[in-house]
């Protein structure tokens, strides 16, 4: 085929025009932030909650449990007057902790008390961090990247060290989900209700509010919540384990293999400005993990008023003093976000 000069000229001109247009219309190989935000709030209701099944769970083993008694040190009253709040900002670290305040199993300064315990429940190793803080701003969240929508990952211990976290747990890996009210330190990432998954909202007073699944239930709950409070942090994983002191029934169709034994991570509020992080090791001979109902029992035993399940499996990590506290044979997994408690000393 030999093209005529006219055809060749026209083809060339068309090609050049197309190529010259590209710098004005092609912004990036990834979706732009503006388009992403538009899509995150395009509709309030999401058809699906999760875009993949990224979790593999083992078969269950036999179980037995015993009660756990919360440490008495956590009931000490902190002198909260004169302590200024930390800025509610995703990229502002907490105050640098006092090194002399650390022990093998805890930390203490004028603004925060942390006590860690290891227990044996349901034939598994259970690690608990009790935390009492002077101001709600010391319950904080952080992401692995430079902005809330960043997709970078990093180790829970590294993120915790980067933000002066005294004790931390992996979050809800929110970039993998499609629904939920995802808020981090007052910054909104997504505003969607969910048919199948429960929400945890933390208000400006540091109180937990758990909204059970269901579009109407969550929409009405959020409306009522926002009439009295502001959302400082919002999480989307679940299920709810304990609500208002009552152990919750785990829905049959809830995701994350709730009826098989697995490593788990969760956070609970015991009292005003008093919290617990609980991580259960699993997938080993000595520690198979727990079912969700057993996890709820553990939360109830430690005195949780509100308790919520977070990302488990190999992500489940309790970081203390920048190191993994829940010693496990598996390597620490990189995650996108964490919840951590920081000191406000010097504020």
């Amino acid at each position: 085929m030999i093209m005529s000069k006219i055809t060749l000229t026209l083809l060339s001109l068309l090609t050049v025009c197309l190529v010259l247009a590209i710098p004005f219309v092609v912004p990036s190989a990834a979706i732009t932030e503006e388009a992403f935000i538009r899509n995150q709030t395009a509709s309030d209701e999401a058809e699906e909650d999760f875009d993949e099944d990224g979790f593999d769970f083992l078969e269950e083993a036999g179980v037995k449990h015993r009660a756990l008694w919360a440490g008495t040190g956590i009931s000490d009253i902190l002198p909260s007057s004169g302590v200024r709040s930390l800025p509610i900002d995703l990229f502002t670290p907490g105050s640098a902790p006092v090194e002399s305040g650390y022990t093998e199993t805890g930390y203490r300064d004028e603004t925060i008390i942390v006590e860690l315990e290891q227990e044996r429940m349901f034939d598994s190793d259970v690690y608990i961090a009790y935390v009492k803080i002077a101001t709600p701003s010391q319950l904080r969240t952080a992401v692995a990247g430079k902005k809330i929508s960043a997709t970078s990952t990093n180790l829970t211990t590294t993120i915790s060290r980067a933000y002066n976290g005294i004790v931390a747990v992996n979050g809800d890996y929110f970039i993998k989900t499609k629904a939920g009210y995802i808020v981090r330190e007052g910054q909104t990432y997504r505003e969607k209700t969910s048919k199948n998954m429960d929400l945890l909202l933390i208000d400006e007073l540091g109180d937990f509010h758990i909204l059970k699944h269901g579009h109407d239930n969550q929409a009405n709950g959020i409306k009522a919540f926002l009439s009295e409070h502001s959302i400082v942090n919002g999480f989307f994983f679940g299920p709810a384990l304990v609500v208002d002191g009552e152990v919750q029934e785990i829905p049959e169709n809830y995701q994350f293999a709730p009826f098989t034994k697995n490593p788990r991570a969760g956070i609970a509020q015991l009292d005003i400005l008093t919290y617990a992080i609980v991580v259960v090791n699993g997938r080993t001979e000595g520690s198979a993990g727990v079912k969700m109902a057993e996890f709820a029992e553990i939360m109830k035993e430690i005195g949780a008023q509100q308790a919520y399940n977070l990302d488990g499996g190999n992500s489940a990590t309790l970081a203390f003093h920048g190191k993994v506290f829940n010693a496990k044979p598996q390597e620490e997994r990189s995650v996108t976000d964490i919840i951590y408690f920081a000191s406000a000393i010097g504020e």
Partner: protein, 328 residues
């Protein structure tokens, strides 16, 4: 954040990534036009490929991105035309290559030449385009890799890593876009030499240049994609770019096995699947889903390098065997 430049007098912004993409296409044209003249390709065939390649490459990369990110386009069920809104960003390198392959086949048909003639000519140019696209990722949020475990290395060779302030820490991340751009540049030189050598001596294997691109680019991308940490084009925990790269190697192997007469085809496939299986295990280890021994990123990437090397060697050995058989 997409870097934008405002050219004085123009009034509207120019995207850094788009600018580099356009420069890549022009560089590809600068390679293809004189090379086509030297190889006496029909007049207009290159122009046709460039036009079809631009259109189909854009369409292919955009549509494949949409397929893998359907959840992002929540409005598309009401308005599917939103998928063509390319100013929203979102493209796939694998989709681009598919579009270019289709453009090569179409333009070969129209120009009455074989698809291998067009593809052999095009692949060095495609390497230049890939190089510019990877350099353009510098202006976007993608192309940055995992955090470096050995920080001392980051401090000693800073230009190879991205230094980022992370809370109170400074961390170094792999500049995967740079490694991929350098690889594409090296591939261009290699393939340009192979193309010209084949022109002079007569091509021993039809599509030799194109097949060499498939196995070299495919095997190198298996490693580079593994280092990325941008969650771009994910299929569960796997990166689709990595899967596409492996498929490129397998496609080249398939073509060569089809041409080969006296080889144990099953053995080649078994070895290829073995390499892929080990690579998949390594990816599980890198993702922290399984723990084998005392894993480190370096150890796992060295194993992956061997797997990628295997996927490169298998078709190469087959190619040499076919050439020997032809000479005999």
């Amino acid at each position: 954040m997409e870097a934008q430049f405002v050219i004085p007098g123009l009034g509207f912004p120019v995207y850094g990534y788009g600018l580099f993409a356009a420069i890549g296409i022009l560089l590809a044209a600068l390679w293809m036009l004189p090379s086509a003249r030297r190889s006496r390709m029909p007049r207009g065939s290159v122009c046709l490929f460039l036009l079809l390649g631009t259109v189909l490459g854009l369409l292919g990369s955009r549509l494949l991105f949409c397929v893998f990110n359907m959840d992002v386009f929540t409005e598309t069920f009401e308005n599917p035309w939103l998928m063509l809104k390319i100013s929203d960003g979102g493209f796939s390198m694998t989709g681009l290559l598919l579009g270019l392959f289709l453009a090569g086949c179409l333009s070969a048909r129209i120009a009455h030449v074989t698809k291998w003639q067009i593809l052999n000519l095009a692949v060095p140019g495609i390497c230049l385009l890939i190089m510019m696209l990877r350099l353009g990722e510098r202006f976007t949020d993608i192309g940055i890799g995992k955090a470096l475990q050995a920080e001392a290395l980051g401090r000693s060779v800073p230009f190879l890593f991205s230094e980022e302030t992370f809370g109170i820490l400074t961390e170094y991340r792999l500049k995967v876009w740079l490694y991929e751009a350098i690889t594409a540049g090296v591939l261009f030189i290699l393939l340009a030499v192979i193309y010209h050598r084949d022109l002079q001596s007569g091509e021993p294997t039809p599509g030799r240049c194109a097949l060499r691109f498939a196995i070299l680019y495919g095997s190198s991308q298996i490693l580079w994609e593994s280092m990325r940490d941008d969650q771009h084009m994910m299929l569960w925990m796997a990166k689709f770019g990595q899967i596409g790269a492996a498929l490129l190697c397998l496609a080249a192997l398939g073509v060569l096995l089809h041409r080969a007469s006296s080889v144990k085809k099953t053995l080649y496939w078994v070895l290829a699947v073995l390499c892929l299986g080990i690579a998949a295990l390594v990816e599980f280890s890198l993702d922290g889903r399984i723990t084998i021994g005392h894993p480190t990123h370096l150890r796992d990437w060295i194993i992956l390098l061997f797997c990628a090397g295997g996927l490169y060697l298998l078709p190469r050995l087959l190619e040499k065997r076919i050439e020997r058989e032809k000479k005999a």
